[in-house]
Subunit: 133 residues, 6 copies
């Protein structure tokens, strides 16, 4: 059960109403996902969060599917069920098929393993060949 009261999609609060409309238009969706209805309990924070998502989750050097895959990899590593479902579904809508999803999962699993092997081995940094950043 949510720790805040979800704001109704048809709220009369003008700030929230405008953001909900922008979410629907930007995402081309009919229903406001629960995360935004919950954040709307604090309209200032909702605005901050939505502006941040809009600024970051648009095609740039990385396309949108790569960004959703990163979001899924982070969410799987953190064990956030709601987020895992949401970002894997978004990546699928953008064209990730079952085989691609299997690869995402295999890489995420592999490096969660290697991160911990590295912790256990306490290895020093490699002297890597320089790359221009």
């Amino acid at each position: 059960m949510p720790t805040v009261k979800l704001v109704d999609e048809n709220t009369t609060d003008p700030k929230v109403r405008a953001i909900f409309a922008d979410i629907k238009a930007t995402r081309k969706i009919e229903r406001i996902p629960n995360i935004w209805r919950a954040l709307a309990a604090n309209p200032e924070h909702l605005e901050l969060c939505w502006n941040q998502v809009k600024a970051i989750m648009r095609p740039g050097k990385l396309d949108l599917m790569t960004k959703e895959i990163i979001a899924a990899a982070v969410s799987i590593t953190n064990g956030c069920d709601y987020c895992i479902n949401s970002h894997l579904a978004a990546a699928q809508r953008l064209g990730l098929d079952a085989e691609g999803m299997g690869e995402v999962l295999a890489v995420v699993g592999l490096y969660n393993q290697f991160n911990k092997l590295v912790f256990g081995l306490q290895i020093d940094p490699d002297v890597l060949p320089k790359v221009e950043a």
Copy 2:
């Protein structure tokens, strides 16, 4: 300081020697990274780990750069310094420029934030439109 003795690159152990040669050939590198020299303290485990990396970290539905970006996203979320440096450097060698790297970081930061907002809000799953898996 490592918790195991790193195996010398020129070890005479035939199993380790063969794997080290395969790592150099597959990765087109001159020096064996410390992670493999440390894992070589247990040759069976080295073999298992290297075979797994070889099977997973090759182009498939996802290209290699996307896979290195996923590895970097996982490593940043887990805070593994050695791994962060290693995978960001690999992604750069595959062509990720500074702007792309900034986008990786922005997405990773954003969803580490959202994962925790979702935990705090304890929101129920959305009823998402079905997608064929």
Copy 3:
């Protein structure tokens, strides 16, 4: 489903009985929360845990609400649903209103983001002005 059998509130075990009574008296509650009934499966461990909570969760330099807020921040970061609900409810009983709770959440989300940005950027320590500890 719990991995241990929850001990009944009216158990006849004298050690557990005394601790349950102390929990009710100290916390001014009528029912023993499930965490204590589960820990009671091992009475020695129950005693150790309850004594530790009693010693730490009392007003000191920090008041009790600040301590419950810290507990909530930790629990949200770790994604422990039971604990999130329990500590946010405790903070509310101590007077945290919806706006305050929104601020807790915003700060927790913000720094989970920044922690990971810092990991990704691998930045060196600042030379901070000294403060007498």
Copy 4:
């Protein structure tokens, strides 16, 4: 070693220059901390991050010291060394003394323990008395 080139404090980039000036003025500091110089490698992201910090890290229902304590609790739970040092130092500058800092640490340690005990015990939610949110 940072994964990006830190931007010089006296950069001629106008957007970054303005933000650096705002950071110094808002925080009443003489030097730009490394986190902001690193984020400045991507000026858009720097702006987004700084605006978010400014909006959230100001006195509201919670005072600034409580917010820095929450930031420290999150950073300790995530093991981010740079962030731990930065937020504990900030809390000290705002008046947290050694005894208060000991209490922060004790609560953070205690609930990292309890979060994991709860995971291990797999306990069901309590039926908590309702609180008006």
Copy 5:
């Protein structure tokens, strides 16, 4: 709800069929646990994962119960409900009684606490007496 379609125990896919038979024979179980039916959505990855589990989860210097206890300790620290139930049940089948399980939990809780105390205190390494590795 799983993010992939679980493969039927009686699948006609020959690779998956052979692995399922091996899982039943090795583990002496009648039913394929859901984790393997889900991994079977990608037969190559299933094979890789099962071979790794078979190679690692057999008696060696450590007996099988110690290995299941380690698996439980990792799973509790990561908060993976499915895994916690699975590994604690496996350890019980191998002979871990309620008192032993209480000890596992107490140690896991204790060091999750100490890990975070150490982060908060930012202590330098001890100069430990050398041990031959």
Copy 6:
């Protein structure tokens, strides 16, 4: 650099002095590890922590080496460098050889991987055969 001032081994504070003596006697060591010198900045908390360690880290249903292995597994999963070194060294002093240590690491790595695969697959609990707890 520690966030608190480490207490000198030869402190004149009677409570701390008694605990330091008990640590040396119980652990059969000549020097107080830094963790205890740091916790001694708050003598009440030092006492609470040391009593807890003494009560939990003694042979019971599990022997001491198994308990140190659990502590190492937790510390590796959390990425606590100081703790990893400390508990692996302790396990080695109790007789864990290089091969055994390789097995600990392999199991820890394996289940950090599986925990995240399970998160990504979002699998439902198995119907496990009942075990008497």
